[in-house]
Symmetry: C2
Subunit: 317 residues, 2 copies
């Protein structure tokens, strides 16, 4: 839904805590769409905060308390492992009627931690915009990151009328940024994301690690012939290690459950290869192929071959 | 290396047997670069052959024998499992001094099978252009597919002077198409490709299969939230099932060896998640991240975030 920049802002002021890829994209998108009138910034790393200010992303605050005290909504944009502590530091300085939300990739543990901060007049609404790239830092962000992507909110099930209004405002905010919003139970979010995101990332990290360890094949050869398929995995494995460590530590049960299924299925394929069971391989491959078509039809990826990326003009020796 | 189309052709006539993605791209590239003067086509599927002719890709032959009888070089462009039989059918009709080569993703078993067809005046040179997309069929091919990509040849180690000249001609042919050529031992090729291509494809197929099976999460949700990482795997898993079945059946030893290592490493990560060993996860993820940078520096992939693909304008419900 395209919105004229002249539409009234959803929030007067927002506080964005953490100005990496997601935080800096959120600021850019909020300013470009007019979803917020003004933005206060904070980052625990002074050089990151200075860089964000240099990029003109908003008003850097002198302290975390200053960044959140006037905000109608505070967005915690940091690795999941830092959310509970930072959220607690924010809550005491936030004004009445404000929203405390986050962008973390895990929701059940976050919801549990943040809910303890809830008080009359402080609306805790965990959130997760399903958007990103493999890059990190304030320079990597861009305003269109959330456009056409889903954003999941996992609000408390028993919120009062004020809380529901706050959820509605946050929903309109993400919609203004170009996202489609889905309300979901936190545990279900974590299971769905374990299969669509967490386990795929773990596997990508793992195959890069296996490849790097191979003594029988030099790393030079792995890199040289990576375009045969391997390079696709390395893109995902280029994502921020701290963020992903925290995801796995905080979504342990769902990740181990999906990983168990993945391992069973892989063992069956491995056995089929050992015993030369071509029909089994063919059937599994054929069914897997169908998933791709569904994703393209749902508008979740490009139909262009090789994601539309160009071959480099010349390989380097 | 760009070559003027007016450079003399490497081969007078080539025979391309199998006009799917790779075969039809080879024909297009050979015609565009003038690497061959004329092209005879054959495909075991009459409708595929007719479609290739309709696309103006070359001269469709009335029989396999006719397609190869006047060719200076015959390219077998089909799943690995069909190479031995088709190669044998070609060899008897080929003229003296001609080259018999292929584009299969496995080389040791292919070299062993095709070598039995070798005779004075018939030069068997197994080959593998490391290029492709997830699409199939003659409409999916394009002339620039091999540009900037590696092509591996696995010639016989004990070839005579005529054989070496044939290897040199085939090398120049692939270079004209824009590839850089590497000569390699067939067994080493199969080990390197097991890690850079075969095991990554198996894992991609497997995770798509695991996802499709999940009863606790609907397939609709997996598709809907696939942009979180999963969609990358589905591209690879959209590749031709017959081709890949044959790859695994014909490169069994190397694939099982690499798969064993992958499983050990994944088990270690799984254990680290269960026991909350964040430092181990962080270290593995950090090292894996480095592989990506090497690949971009080697010109094997784009540095653009998300492979440079655009977010869709609007998600579909």
């Amino acid at each position: 839904m395209s919105t004229a920049p002249s539409s009234p802002p959803i929030f007067g002021r927002i506080g964005v805590i953490g100005v990496g890829l997601i935080g800096s994209s959120l600021v850019r998108a909020a300013m470009e769409t007019g979803a917020a009138q003004s933005v206060s910034l904070w980052d625990q790393d002074p050089s990151t905060l200075a860089r964000a200010a240099e990029l003109g992303l908003g008003e850097p605050a002198a302290s975390l308390a200053e960044a959140v005290s006037q905000a109608d909504a505070v967005f915690l944009c940091m690795p999941v492992g830092a959310l509970a502590t930072t959220g607690a530091l924010c809550a005491g300085s936030m004004k009445d009627g404000a929203i405390l939300t986050d962008v973390g990739s895990v929701k059940a543990s976050v919801a549990k931690d943040l809910r303890t901060l809830s008080r009359p007049g402080l609306h805790v609404i965990p959130g997760h915009p399903i958007a990103g790239t493999e890059k990190s830092g304030p320079d990597a962000g861009f305003a269109s990151l959330f456009r056409g992507r889903w954003c999941i909110l996992t609000p408390e099930p028993d919120g009062d009328k004020d809380y529901l209004s706050a959820v509605e405002a946050l929903t309109r905010f993400w919609e203004r940024l170009g996202s489609r919003v889905e309300l979901m139970d936190a545990a279900r979010h974590d299971l769905v994301l374990a299969i669509t995101s967490h386990v795929p990332h773990l596997i990508a990290y793992n195959i890069c690690s296996t490849a790097a360890d191979l003594e029988a094949v030099t790393q030079g050869e792995v890199v040289k012939f990576s375009a045969a398929g391997f390079r696709d995995f390395t893109r995902i494995a280029a994502s921020d290690p701290t963020m992903w460590r925290d995801v796995f530590l905080n979504n342990r049960e769902a990740v181990l459950e999906i990983l168990g299924r993945f391992n069973e299925d892989l063992t069956a394929l491995q056995r089929a290869i050992r015993w030369g069971e071509g029909d089994l391989l063919f059937d599994v491959f054929t069914r897997a192929r169908g998933v791709r078509q569904s994703i393209i039809e749902a508008g979740q990826d490009t139909a262009a071959p090789n994601f539309g990326r160009d071959a480099p003009a010349e390989p380097k020796p």
